[in-house]
Point group: D2
């Protein structure tokens, strides 16, 4: 697998593609910043994402969705091709109890067949809540 990073994708176009997905619109995603090296997204809180109402923590599936999609769009932002996620791994470090949540994705390997990106999920005050990695297929 050789590096296939070409030119970064235009910000407006990335935002448009991101919000084609009804689930991304439901999550209320917004692009904060992007470059060939990283993509930062922001997601507001919404009450339906809560897993444990006793502590008001966001569901791990929501954090996993953020890791998944931020990594994929980080590959696109860097000029790579990522048609679908083939696998995803997420570690949950701390309960996410309020929004907005920040997700920062970084491509680790841009490949011809497969690209890999790491994503960190942070609280508004910068604490690491979850982190993980997706493998994205180009064809």
């Amino acid at each position: 697998m050789t590096d296939t990073r070409t030119k970064p994708m235009d910000a407006k176009r990335l935002q448009d593609i991101l919000l084609i997905s009804p689930f991304h619109r439901w999550l209320g995603l917004r692009i904060v910043s992007q470059s060939g090296d990283s993509l930062e997204l922001e997601m507001p809180w919404r009450d339906e994402i809560v897993s444990n109402p006793a502590i008001g923590a966001a569901h791990g599936g929501i954090l996993s969705a953020l890791v998944d999609l931020t990594g994929l769009y980080a590959v696109l932002a860097a000029g790579g091709v990522a048609k679908a996620t083939v696998d995803l791994r997420v570690d949950f470090h701390r309960a996410a109890t309020e929004g907005p949540l920040r997700a920062i994705g970084c491509p680790i390997k841009m490949g011809r067949t497969l690209s890999i990106a790491d994503t960190q999920i942070l609280s508004a005050d910068g604490r690491l809540l979850a982190s993980g990695r997706g493998a994205y297929v180009s064809g």
Copy 2:
């Protein structure tokens, strides 16, 4: 880690606990069957879960949420303790394009500190859409 499987949890109580979570209610989860060896859940389709509207495929984050929660509740159903997910790994095999989705979780290791469960996500006609594993902490 020694096996700490005790007696399976009562079905009514499991359903009550499952639906305490607002996100689980949003997903519309329903327990199909449960035993000490496996737990089967069903999730109806809803338009907000779509990732790619061109093919109408469910978002990988939704499938990940199903793998995460089904494994955790499979550990509970088997009489184990699972307070939170520590990590999650999911492989996406085929696009999920219609509901209901079925999720079948099986405990692999019931430990004092950590339990592991595997979950498969199937289409209504029994095709394997995604599969994965969660590690759940007891304290």
Copy 3:
């Protein structure tokens, strides 16, 4: 990804390919049984594989190697194509303190681009020591 399982590989040929690898010869691997659904390998103990001499436990890297290679050869045994491992995930359940170790690999998804196989590592008396999954690329 459509299923590309063709006809299972001949046992003699599988053994020959398995032992082309100097590392596999160092591990002393032997095929116990094979079919389109599973492959069982056996590995004798050797003192160099010990991680913690206080309890005489095998190194996690050795168990990981077994998960990796058994899954890949399970795909080959089932008639699939697996050129290289793209990623590997292993859970360690119990210390492996004596040999021989048994590794049982099962293909989960045979794909055109990517195949997935699960492997369990068992002690001689059948206790689950480690389990995991590899993703194998065909080209």
Copy 4:
């Protein structure tokens, strides 16, 4: 999980502990540098680690072992507690065809129960060959 990073471990003591393991001695590991933030190890080539003799590539199991152990010792180097690996995930980016190999591990989360560390495996000329993550339990 709160951060439990205390004071970094003494270099001589870390090297002594690392080489208690017969498998680590077989691998020929050497500590290049260490701090509370990262640990760098070096591993010489040896012919027994080859998987595919046609291209002379190191076995994925060897790279996995390096990811596993470097992460665990990076947690120790940072003053954390890591008794055993509970799970390991590795991505293979490029064939490793000559030595020495360099492994750089960084703690991501130092927890009371569980610590997480990321490790990168690099060729002598600095190319990323593999990368991954281990979860290490403290008790």
